[in-house]
Point group: none
Amino acid sequence: MKAIHAEVITIGDEILYGQITDTNTQWLSAALSQLGIKTIRKSSVGDRYSDIQSILKEASQRAQLVILTGGLGPTNDDITKKVLSDFLGKPLIQNDDVLRDVDYFFTSRGRVLSDINKLQAFIPQDAVALRNQYGTAPGMWAEHEQVIFISLPGVPYEMKGIMNDYGLPALKKHFKTPFIQHQIIRTAGIGESVLAEQIKDWEKALPHFITLAYLPSYGSVKLRLTGLSENLAIVEAEIKQQVKKLLPLLGDKYFYAAEDINLEVHIGNLLKATGKTIALAESCTGGYAQHLITSVPGCSAYFKGGIVSYSNEIKEQELGVPKSLLEQKGAVSPEVAEAMATGILKKFQTSYAIAITGIAGPDGGSVEKPVGMVCMAFASDSGQVVSKTVQFGKERDTNIKASAAVAMNLLRLGIEGKLS
Amino acid sequence: MKAIHAEVITIGDEILYGQITDTNTQWLSAALSQLGIKTIRKSSVGDRYSDIQSILKEASQRAQLVILTGGLGPTNDDITKKVLSDFLGKPLIQNDDVLRDVDYFFTSRGRVLSDINKLQAFIPQDAVALRNQYGTAPGMWAEHEQVIFISLPGVPYEMKGIMNDYGLPALKKHFKTPFIQHQIIRTAGIGESVLAEQIKDWEKALPHFITLAYLPSYGSVKLRLTGLSENLAIVEAEIKQQVKKLLPLLGDKYFYAAEDINLEVHIGNLLKATGKTIALAESCTGGYAQHLITSVPGCSAYFKGGIVSYSNEIKEQELGVPKSLLEQKGAVSPEVAEAMATGILKKFQTSYAIAITGIAGPDGGSVEKPVGMVCMAFASDSGQVVSKTVQFGKERDTNIKASAAVAMNLLRLGIEGKLS
């Protein structure tokens, strides 16, 4: 069977020119995908009659559902409703329910209903008004040559409110939709190309109704399996089967979660479950690794704190790194990273500690220690100390974020007892 | 003169399904409009050959410039390059410069160049490679029937890097765009609407060829004056005139730079010029304020380091905050913020120090100390100690970033001697 295809269109110059961020299309396509409706294209056009008219024509030839957001305000530059009514070949007529809504919206706020606002109550003949309890512009539902058109205001909380209240339930009822099942597999410590090489036979053997996507970010690759079928049981069973085949190929050093959680959250879960605590000592990452840890709500349960020892003086004074070691091995060395980790572990009395020292760049490198060289160490109150040295590139911000990501994975492996 | 018309296309199921946020199209269309190039449509399609093929055809009939992002990875689901080469009617051939880049990218990181990665070096014949110093997938520039096609990787920092390094300068040269003169005025500590009210008469009086944009970010508003004309001298002179009128209206407590530098860079310049040093003590911001400071190259000249004292135990132990004070006033109080600031100042022996303590949320608030309440303090080795309490909202990530931004401005004002 074929999936229901949808197109999402945002209307407004401010989005087209990059003056405001469009959050509506992401929310809409995610909501549709939950209904098993597949977004096949998203478009943004400006507030021009001909542009809106042509995207309506094009989209209605490709999809069975066309959702428009924006351009429903009462001002002159908002023309979506006019274009839509011409496209449908239906005049704009006053809708009494909407007029009551708009009237109530103003009077309940002690304001007077202006003639301009009365225009909000006009919608194309035969269209269904999707009432707006959050603002004055109603949504609209219209059918035209077997295509459903939904027009929504651009203000995100009004758009979402209308869709949650009326739009999504109506879509669920109207389309006998197939089921889309997503399964996220989170990996860390393996690059996209190596990972792809490692699972390519499995990927080739996937059934036609299951697709795979690689979603890489700093130090981690997210795998997304998407199954599409009218039989939920079949998709669920098949995805479960495929995951069972996939996990052994990944190996438990790279795989860390069969749900969409980042390493910081996963680490937090591990620590909360065991009642363990952590502290961090950072040099080149300058606090960014601790920012990742503290971006997780409730992290105070396991994160005591840390030290950013940017100068050698502070590495000695606060972390007890021996001056001799700094002089012999240099601040960027596995030995100093290990001394920093054991230093913060003892000082903050935690179960685990991570330390990071490196050359973030763009300057400060040398032949034997180029920009992008970063040393990290994991230390545990059991006495285990493991260090790791990575070579990144020349770009400072990337080096900082990539180092922190790799350090998170080192911490994860240490907590999971997978370091040796 | 007629504006150059552009279309921006993002490729990838993850954006279509709403699983990741597309920040690329907003950045691109904003960057293009800075060149006087007008985005007339944005589209997102999935990783399917026919969808990419048809959007390429459509866009090239409407615009003189078509920019594609995404789908350039080495894995099977990334097919943009194949579609583009077929569309251009040019076979994919190996580009030696790119091969060297990719090879260097891996070998310099002590990794082996896999066959899959070698594929990154293939681009359509006659296309110009836009070299990628931030990743392995090169950008591409091709001309076909008077339309310019630029294909870029989807990873935002790679895409932006390539466009800043090669794409935007090349576009400026290729399309004889009118002279565009920008003047940035950086302010901090004043909200957009208050600022707009304060300068509205000046704004109204701007000549037609000068436009003003308010670019707000956490705790600061960037004003961008844009002059567009065929006569460079006229624009430059007029902008200089307008800035001279504007600055007195802003006042030197809010205005801090007539160039596009953020507070961290500005603070770094002040400290380097005076040979002063800083240290930070953070609680609720969890290292993010130090990340801002250390995002500036060369910050080791003035930043000694800091402490993330997430637990009260660490606030006492490391910063010498009296237990009694923590009990009487609570960890989130101006008094504790001041004690943290003076504590880190003494311990790290710096000229200045900043401390931040608050309730980032989403939980942990109370009636008298709600989520989003944040106390900050500035301390100087001259003995000056100034604290400031701000009430933010309920969203953790926003509270962390906004607190750090306000702290940066407190530090700036302290260094500039504008606190009292």
